[in-house]
């Protein structure tokens, strides 16, 4: 590799620590009413694993590696796409008393068309 990000030992631990802390703080602010969409939303976020699956598949040499790599991308893509679909659907449903029913329906409709 010519352009290399190398993380070993402590650098990785620092990244893990800061990311874990950020996750804890960000999620701590989410109200209980949004816990289900939050969970499926964070579920979607770890769908980024599909990118790792792609790297593994591109580097596959033997048929065995290709088969497992294919499986990894398949599952990762399902994780990401499914997680997004259900989260988006759930979040579109939350509305306040003020929002006119007709208005919010139109908005959801509009989003679906896009």
């Amino acid at each position: 590799m010519h352009f290399d990000i190398t993380m070993t030992g402590f650098v990785a631990l620092y990244i893990f620590m800061l990311a874990g802390f950020a996750g804890w703080v960000i999620i701590g602010n989410v109200p209980a009413i949004l816990h289900t969409p939050l969970m499926s939303g964070s579920n979607f976020v770890h769908g980024i694993v599909v990118v790792g699956g792609l790297f593994a598949l591109f580097n596959a040499v033997t048929p065995q590696e290709q088969a497992i790599g294919f499986f990894a991308v398949l599952l990762g893509a399902g994780n990401a796409a499914g997680g997004y679909a259900v989260t988006d659907r759930m979040l579109a449903m939350f509305k306040t008393s003020d929002a006119k029913l007709a208005h919010s329906h139109a908005r959801v409709h509009h989003l679906k068309k896009r």
């Binding site: 289900t36 790792g52 790297f55 593994a56 591109f58 499914g82 989260t87 979040l91």
Partner: protein, 486 residues
């Protein structure tokens, strides 16, 4: 043909796209802290995901010499896997009923764990790991990912009703401990085997197969004994597991975007697990390793009196003429798919100038926040929905508390009875309302087998029946009243 410049540019683009994706994930999750900004939050995160996936195709300029002859085949496989997995899950996710959300979240989560486990498998079989640290991290990530995959599949089967009762055998803890012990030993053998030691005449590859088989079996064994009402904790924990596995494999692949996304989700899942366990006044270990309910059968006969049934119409009319009503939904509402009928009934009450609010217990339903989503689907505005701490003091001044398909979360024994297995669990103080109605499928106990003192209280009446059928009767009763008045 593959010039070094091209390789360098492609790697810069991948690195930038991953950095942007990591930022957008965090920013998107941050926007999820309010219902008003949350829809844009998931869309922002979605843009990050698309950018990272598209950019990763540029990696074709950087593949090693050994994989180069296979590049076209691998590209085809990648596109096929993305399309099949992505499009399939997308359509299922768009169509599935809101009441089925817990099992969908479980299965998508399992897929992520499986993907992380598969990446570990590719790295292990291909011998791509460099040094002991990488090998150990790969094994750990593979173990957690595989447990998350098989465990989530069992969780899905339980939530979907494929598996009906928890499966419990004597000595289960010993069995589970020996399986995880065996898995860790096999992991040690793989390390030794990679360093050139032949163990029991098996090759490294064979040991890797045994390792993943053990991990998958452990996930199954760990999830089988857990009861339905403990599912919020289990789903949260597997969410954390998958996040952790993704983060660890991100380290193996030297990809910071995976590391950050995985660890953020791991922390989020851990936090939710802690919140759920706290709401049940139990430790996480207690949920996972104790067969709740088998110890809870003792102590019958401590409660005097009997359950008093009443008519759905009578209850409905009482609420129609009440000043303040609080509704407590539980899993029974979801099981009966009665959320639409409930809001229809509530709208009639609101039209009659009754103040109606919803009180949600943190562990009501089968996953964190499930009741909030069901009410939102029915069209209930979120400013009518209140969490335990915000509403619990108001029951004392409430005319009617209506409990629908909830049981243990309103059991006053948790407050007063030290011998009760749920003693100390925070509950909704429904019993403090002037009148309590409980809609329940029939006489019987909650999942824990605990007698509910509330049902025998002098201010409580039971309305037996399927929640949907009962609510239809209630709607008719209130409508009939309006017609008579006119």
């Amino acid at each position: 043909m593959l010039t070094p410049t091209l390789t360098l540019i492609s790697q810069l683009v991948i690195g930038t796209a991953d950095l942007v994706a990591a930022f957008l994930f965090m920013f998107g999750l941050k926007r999820m802290s309010s219902p008003a900004t949350a829809p844009s939050g998931i869309r922002v995160a979605g843009i990050g995901m698309i950018a990272a996936v598209l950019a990763s195709f540029l990696y074709v300029f950087s593949v090693g010499p050994a994989a180069r002859p296979h590049l076209l085949v691998n590209l085809g496989l990648a596109v096929a896997a993305l399309l099949i997995g992505g499009v399939g899950a997308w359509f299922v996710g768009r169509k599935v009923a809101m009441t089925a959300m817990p099992q969908m979240v479980a299965i998508y989560n399992g897929m992520g764990g499986g993907a992380a486990g598969s990446i570990a498998a590719v790295e292990l079989f291909g011998g791509h790991t460099n040094g002991l640290t990488q090998l150990a991290v790969t094994l750990l990530g593979g173990l957690i990912g595989a447990v998350s995959l098989s465990g989530s599949i069992i969780a899905w089967a339980k939530l979907d009703g494929v598996l009906k009762a928890p499966w419990r055998v004597p000595g289960q803890q010993v069995l589970n401990a020996s399986v995880i012990g065996a898995t860790l030993i096999v992991a040690g053998v793989i390390v030794a085997s990679t360093m050139g030691l032949a163990v029991l005449g098996l090759t490294t590859a064979q040991w890797i197969w045994i390792f993943f088989a053990c991990a998958l079996i452990f996930g199954v064994l760990m999830t089988l004994p857990i009861g339905g009402a403990d599912m919020p904790v289990v789903i949260s924990i597997y969410n954390a597991f998958t996040g952790l596995a993704v983060g660890l494999e991100g380290f193996v692949l030297q990809n910071p975007a995976l590391m950050i996304a995985g660890m953020v989700v791991g922390a989020a899942g851990l936090l939710l697990t802690v919140i759920m366990a706290k709401a049940m006044n139990r430790s996480i270990a207690n949920v996972l390793f104790t067969n709740f309910g088998t110890v809870a059968k003792a102590k019958p006969g401590a409660i005097q009196g009997s359950e008093r049934p009443t008519d759905a119409a009578d209850a409905a009319i009482k609420m129609r003429y009440a000043g303040k009503v609080i509704i407590i939904p539980g899993y029974g509402l979801a099981a009966a798919h009665a959320q639409q009928k409930l809001f229809e009934f509530v709208k009639l009450l609101l039209a009659a100038k009754v103040s109606v609010r919803f009180a949600i217990h943190p562990v009501a339903g089968r996953m964190p926040g499930q009741m909030d989503v069901l009410l939102a689907e029915a069209g209930v505005p979120y400013d009518m929905i209140f969490q335990l701490d915000d509403i619990n003091d108001d029951f004392a001044t409430t005319d009617v508390a209506l409990v629908i398909g909830a049981n243990d979360v309103v059991n006053p024994a948790a407050r007063s009875d030290k011998s009760s297995p749920i003693f100390g669990m925070p509950i909704l103080n429904a019993d403090k309302a002037a009148q309590v109605y409980v809609i329940k499928r029939g006489q019987g106990k909650g999942y824990s087998g605990i007698v509910n003192a509330l049902f025998y209280a002098p201010n409580c009446n039971m309305v037996y029946g399927d929640a949907q059928a009962v609510l239809v009767k209630m709607i008719e009763a209130v409508r009939g009243l309006g017609a008579a008045a006119a």
